[in-house]
Amino acid sequence: MRKYVEFARVQMQVHAAYSAWFWANTFSILLRMLVIYFFWKAVYSSRTEIEGLPFEGMITYIIIAMFLQMFVSGVGQELAHTIKDGNVAIELMRPYNLITRLVAMDLGDKVIHFVRGALPLSILAFIFMDITLPTSWQSGLLFFISAFMGIWIGTFFDLLIAILAFWTINLWGLQVMKEAVISFFSGALVPLILFPEWFQTISLFLPFQAMVYVPVAIYTGILSGTEAWLALGSQVFWAVSLFVLLRVLWSIAIKKVTIFGG
């Protein structure tokens, strides 16, 4: 365990060293918040609510979802590159579990991103953008649990996709495709209740809504009471199934490495 904590710590220091990327990120997020704000302001210019959501509720959902989506993926890129450049063979000989190491490093990354990026920026959003607090302290607490699960599910899914790097070299395409699918089905762009019925039904059976929609819907009160607990239950289901799937696929993929390396 100690070594993994150490990996997470080192990753935080690495992150702090690249300040150009930090500022680029911060600035880009600010820009996106501006686009979102003006876009939704224009949408609401001729009405007071959409599907029962007033402007404040909508902008709160969209902004929180945007922040959460940034934490949903991340570690897959690293794994995909390790596979592609062949280092995976060496990594597998080292005295740690490669996946656990990557997850630990990713965790370090996320902690520092949260402290240096998401936290100050969301405080800014609270002050300038009509964002509201959770409807009650229970839903606030539930949001944190649910968001944690969502990030967990997202990380497993990310790793699953990254393993595909054993079979393709177009990592950029893989990444873009994954991002598109996630922003499509996870409710990261708009609350799923705005989607047509059939689309909502489909996404109910996919793991993506558990990444972003469920936590943020709990935060904004779209899901509450029994519904919220049920949604949390589905998150547990996805977290466990993706974890198992990852184990299976990884053990299959590793066999391919030995064939590859000769």
């Binding site: 500022w23 395409g173 873009v176 499509f184 762009l189």
Partner: protein
């Protein structure tokens, strides 16, 4: 001189195509992924318009049209000039840029021709479909002249994307890798996907006169939308494209002069 460069470009392309055909699965994956990405953006607009009739006076098809021009213009940049993204981390940092400098051709030409990015075809495809879908719904009759202007506008849009990326990529000559800056500026183009009239005046002026992303989609589209009030400004699009390209190229040449290789 020119014919030599055309022939050279053809030879570069042939090499790139060979690579593409070698990895067919990856070609498909790339095209499909970009199409999906664009589709997600369009779907988002569709969902929103299921609940409203107009966005600040703009109809669904007008927004689609803006979107389509942005996507098609960007695809020109994506297919033919994608290498601009890699100047810092693939050429200057590892010292590979020196290789281009000792060749008897223009280094910028060599650098651009080094890569043909197949993934951009997905963007081109979607862009054309979106424009085609939106066109019949605009209250303008499409003649040969209108088509011609549309094509000119799209090419101009593409070259504005190129000029902006070239300008900020050039900073790499001084700071080794300017990718974070290029990327941040590129994100500004997100603004251009919607009518600029929904934004604060300051943002609008910035995107018109400082970093002219407004001319990559909104202004060219507004030319074809009756009563948009921007028909006149829209005609400036090709001018803006030419001026920004000249300016970026001048800056590139200054960068080249200041360039000292990462020594070893």
């Amino acid at each position: 001189m020119l014919s030599r460069y055309i022939k050279l470009y053809y030879l570069f392309c042939k090499q790139n195509l060979k690579v593409m055909l070698e990895y067919r699965m990856d070609f498909l994956l790339g095209v499909l992924s970009v199409m999906l990405q664009q589709f997600a953006g369009i779907f988002f607009v569709k969902i929103v318009f299921d609940h409203i009739h107009a966005l600040n006076g703009w109809t669904f098809y007008e927004i689609l049209f803006i979107y389509g021009i942005a996507a098609t213009g960007r695809s020109i940049h994506h297919i033919f000039f994608d290498n601009l993204w890699t100047l810092g981390w693939q050429y200057i940092r590892p010292g590979k840029f020196d290789r281009l400098l000792i060749r008897p051709i223009n280094p910028l030409f060599h650098f651009i021709a080094d890569r043909l990015q197949q993934d951009g075809f997905g963007q081109l495809f979607i862009g054309i479909i979106v424009i085609g879908t939106a066109m019949p719904h605009l209250s303008i009759s499409w003649g040969v002249l209108e088509f011609f202007i549309l094509v000119v506008m799209i090419i101009a849009s593409g070259f504005i994307f190129v000029a902006i990326n070239l300008f900020f990529a050039t900073l790499s000559f001084w700071m080794v890798d300017s990718l974070p800056i290029v990327w941040t500026i590129f994100n500004l183009s997100d603004f251009a996907r919607y009518p600029l009239t929904i934004y604060h005046k300051g943002i609008r002026h910035f995107l018109t006169w400082i970093v002219p992303y407004g001319f990559t989609a909104f202004y060219p589209a507004a030319y074809f939308i009756e009563g948009s009030g921007f028909e006149r400004l829209a005609l400036l699009t090709p001018v803006v494209a030419i001026v920004s390209c000249i300016f970026a190229y001048w800056f590139w040449n200054r960068g080249l002069k200041a360039f000292t290789s990462t020594g070893s």
